[in-house]
Assembly symmetry: C2
Homo-oligomer: 202 residues x 2
């Protein structure tokens, strides 16, 4: 076996990525070594730039390069409607459906007591304050709980529904129709679009 | 849709990687943005170091950090036996079987006339010279053609067999038993091990 400590180090770094096993890590490593210098430099530069420039929106916690984000500063959005999602990536997939015209609130995950993630680890108090205070001059009338349709996402939705209802807001949930047990991030746009338009009250 | 030019640039760079589609690129991008600074720095550093330190071995063209590579400078290898592979990654998988104790010759690809890859684009002349001259004081007695068991790999093997036989060397091929149409790189070690021990003469 050739001794290649720098190659082994690259393999180890690649294997830490989600969805990358030992074989795809090796494939990626060989590709990255053989790629032209410009392509490798572009990947390195793109990653460094993205990490430097993207920040969480101070209003909704989605990823943005300018604070507040495009959605929060768009005068055309329906301020009476707020969608609660787990991760910044979920904002992106919901936006792609063009079905939702309200604003977002990114929790930063889902409740997972066994892994020590309670309401204090998520942007929950922040959400309650937003709903209680209203968006600018506008009262929030409906909160759509768009957490993932799996155990953690469902229990997060139930928890949030219990906390939100005393504020006199309508609380809705994405329609089932999403494949149960899956992650929002991987749903196709048509299914997700239908899940938004068929949302049900909790 | 939030305007995120740096994120879009990272996505584009990730989508160029082999085996990474739009959805896994998005997943990787979000992971890389959310990862701790140390982890991102390690990935960037590992890639830069691997690209800087690994060079092709001047004897066999495998990847190495010192020239000649470990295999070519190992006095315990059987110099009468030479395995011809397409890519540096293939040396690694063959080494893992512990079934092959000779040296290697990396072609740098397979013949693909439609994509303009002929013998001159590969390390073919180089291979013929090695076999004609012998390894050090030792005559090369057998060349094992370990190209991929797909159309391009098979025709490369047939071409090389025709060029090598006039040199009075025994030319062998990996046993079929490898799933036809697949790539060497993804074979499991047991199958590949059997393919080495059952190699047949061409």
């Amino acid at each position: 076996m050739p001794r290649l400590p720098s190659f082994a180090r690259l393999l180890a770094a690649l294997e830490r990525l989600p969805g990358v096993g030992p074989k795809s890590a090796r494939r990626l490593a060989h590709y990255l070594l053989a790629a032209p210098g410009s392509e490798a430099a572009e990947l390195l530069g793109a990653l460094a730039a993205a990490r430097e420039k993207t920040i969480p929106c101070s209003v909704c916690h989605a990823l943005t390069e300018e604070d507040p984000c495009d959605v929060c500063s768009d005068p055309g959005r329906d301020l009476r409607l707020l969608a609660v999602v787990e991760e910044p990536a979920d904002v992106e997939v919901l936006e792609k459906t063009h079905e939702f015209r309200g604003r977002y609130h990114v929790l930063g995950g889902a409740l997972a007591p066994l892994r020590g993630i309670g309401p204090d680890e998520l942007h929950v108090e922040d959400l309650l304050a937003r709903v209680a205070k209203g968006e600018g001059e506008t009262k929030v009338e409906e909160v759509l709980l768009a957490t993932n349709p799996n155990v953690e996402g469902e229990s997060t939705a139930l928890y949030l529904a219990r906390r939100l209802k005393p504020l006199g807001v309508k609380v809705t949930r994405l329609a089932l129709g999403l494949p149960v047990g899956a992650a929002l991030e991987f749903a196709d746009e048509v299914t997700l679009s239908r899940a938004v338009s068929n949302r049900r009250e909790l």
